[in-house]
């Protein structure tokens, strides 16, 4: 059994209780919705691109569990200044981290405090919560038009037993 504090670290909870990027970006270049229907997580990611094509600002709106919201706020911190290609790469790296394919130590340089979500790899049903913002960002930058969902059958849903 994982200790709750491994996942619900002060860093994560600070982003949940006092998010830096929880608002609608007025001059957003693009916005994209991501949902986990069985959890009720429903986040929209907004991004503004600078003239040179790099990401100038990212924000998020919506409702979800602490893991999905804290993860979104940490992601918004990390995206500023990246090119879309770099941002997409970072989303892939984060996916590897939360699926246990990459250790927190190896990810820390790139993912900073978001590396604290590594322990979620031991809670398969919650991986999709941590991934939601990142998958949504990745798909937005790929030009997706349909809402993103991390419930694509790869992870068991916590809501499906009687």
């Amino acid at each position: 059994m994982a200790s709750p504090n491994q996942l619900y670290t002060p860093a994560l909870l600070e982003h949940v209780q006092h998010p830096d990027w929880n608002f609608e970006l007025k001059d957003a270049t693009c916005s994209h919705e991501g949902v986990n229907p069985s959890c009720g997580d429903d986040l929209t990611i907004h991004a503004r691109l600078a003239n040179d094509g790099t990401i100038a600002e990212v924000s998020w709106t919506g409702e979800g569990c602490a893991v999905s919201k804290g993860s979104a706020d940490m992601m918004a911190d990390l995206m500023v200044g990246l090119t879309p290609a770099e941002a997409k790469e970072l989303c892939v790296t984060f996916g590897e981290l939360v699926r246990g394919e990459l250790s927190a130590e190896d990810a820390e340089e790139e993912l900073d405090e978001a590396a604290c979500l590594a322990s979620i790899a031991h809670m398969p049903a919650r991986v999709k919560c941590a991934e939601l913002a990142w998958r949504t960002m990745d798909e937005m930058l790929s030009g997706a038009t349909e809402p993103s969902s991390t419930e694509d059958g790869l992870v068991p849903s916590a809501g499906d037993l009687g």
Binding site: M1, A2, P4, S38, C39, A66, V67, R126, G162
Partner: protein
């Protein structure tokens, strides 16, 4: 902030009773995990050693394909299955073991009913009545059969407290109603549904009565005669038995009149190149080789329940439910759903912690060794009706005790502290 006191205001005698736990020693998983407070019994029960031993005993001493052999081992395997059938029948007051059809689970039993009875009796303009409390297992099969037949699905609603009024029952079940299919005990709110009153109205309207007993059969005495129903579905895994074994009870003459559900081996008397003659009930509904070992072990599980006795089971589960409810009531940041009367919950308590998603609650509780359920509990229409998308659910069984409740309440305080920077 929560009170520090986590001892609920139970009557002393009741608290003393659930402080003791004469049952825990019978459950190997609980013995092996003393740090675990398992409060997800409405999802699946823990299994006593006698059930696990029975499954092994079957394979070690009587394993053969039941019904297919003319040698003594196969006869023994068949006898083991039939012994279980008799136990299943006795538990719910069936008049004959032949009225018990073995399935994989309650869902399969309800699908069987929807596909056979539903497709036989439903036509355009007819109505099927269920309640807003239903588990998806007793909802989706009816949605599907209504789509196929042109019948309409109608819903019974209880009061916010969870009680069904005479007026509601009369207004919803009428001359167009052909089937009423209803849960006996809510897997989310824990309260019992007045099945006998609903069945009486259904009878007056000439409708068939189907009962989802998945939550009731393991926890309260169930008599199909008293309920006056036609069919009742339940599963073994919530009643101390193995996964993958369920049952459908039906009145013999009704089962005989219904067509088969699945077809193939074991369910026929004779086969020609043109067709087949069905085996008698219940074999007509049991296509293919059954999980004989699981069925045998499930029977042993039900016998264990009978030995503990439903009076004792009910008393303990009500006391544990009250301890849970009263502990949560002392925490103003917790909202509890369903009846205010703790005794109406049968040990099942759905709740939310203000500002914290249920999945976060269950993950944090897991870290404290407390297992509860979080989500929509396979009852999404009910949760929508309750005005929420998910809840936490603690569900006690007679082999829980007061220390489980106390650990649960302490962990609830941990959640609140973590989210308010107090930890």
């Amino acid at each position: 902030m929560a009170t520090l006191c986590s001892a609920p205001r139970l009557p002393a005698a009741e608290a003393a009773r659930i402080a003791l736990n004469p049952y825990k020693a019978d459950f190997p998983l609980l013995v092996g995990h003393p740090e675990l407070a398992y409060l997800d019994n409405a999802a699946t029960a823990q299994r006593p050693a006698c059930v696990l031993e029975a499954e092994t005993r079957f394979y070690e001493t009587m394993n053969a394909n039941p019904l297919r052999g003319l040698y003594s081992l196969s006869v023994e395997a068949t006898a083991a299955m039939e012994e279980a059938r008799a136990t299943f029948a006795r538990l719910i007051g069936a008049t004959s073991p032949r009225e018990i059809v073995f399935t994989r689970n309650a869902s399969e039993s309800l699908n069987l009913v929807a596909r056979t009875l539903g497709e036989q009796v439903l036509f355009e303009g007819d109505e099927v009545v269920i309640s807003i409390l239903e588990h998806h297992s007793n909802l989706i099969p009816w949605q599907e059969v209504c789509k196929r037949t042109g019948a309409t699905l109608r819903w019974l609603y209880p009061s916010q407290e969870g009680f069904f009024s005479e007026e509601e029952i009369k207004a919803t079940i009428g001359p167009a109603t052909k089937i009423v299919s209803i849960t006996q005990l809510s897997n989310v709110l824990g309260m019992e549904v007045p099945v006998a009153a609903i069945a009486k109205r259904a009878r007056e309207m000439g409708a068939y009565v189907v009962v989802d007993g998945a939550q009731s059969v393991p926890h309260i005495p169930v008599s199909v005669a008293e309920l006056d129903c036609d069919l009742l579905a339940f599963s073994a895994h919530k009643a101390l038995g193995p996964f993958g074994v369920g049952a459908l009870w039906g009145k013999l003459e009704l089962l005989e009149a219904l067509p088969p559900f699945l077809t193939g081996g074991e369910m026929i008397d004779s086969v020609t190149q043109e067709g087949a003659v069905w085996a008698p009930v219940p074999m007509k509904f049991e296509a293919g080789t059954q999980d004989a070992a699981g069925i045998y072990a499930a029977g042993v599980g039900l016998s264990y329940l009978e030995e503990v006795g439903f009076e004792a089971i009910h008393a303990r589960e009500v006391a544990l439910g009250r301890a849970l409810m009263e502990g949560l009531a002392e925490r103003p940041f917790v909202e509890v759903y369903g009846p205010r009367n703790p005794d109406a919950h049968h040990g099942v308590v759905s709740f939310n912690i203000e500002g914290v998603h249920p999945h976060d609650v269950s993950s944090i509780l897991d870290g404290s060794g407390v297992a509860i359920r979080a989500g929509h509990h396979c009852a999404q229409p009910l949760l929508t009706w309750l005005g929420t998308s998910s809840t936490c659910r603690a569900s006690a069984a007679f082999y829980n005790d007061l220390s489980d409740v106390e650990r649960f309440l302490d962990a609830i305080d941990t959640v609140w502290s973590l989210f308010h920077g107090l930890a």
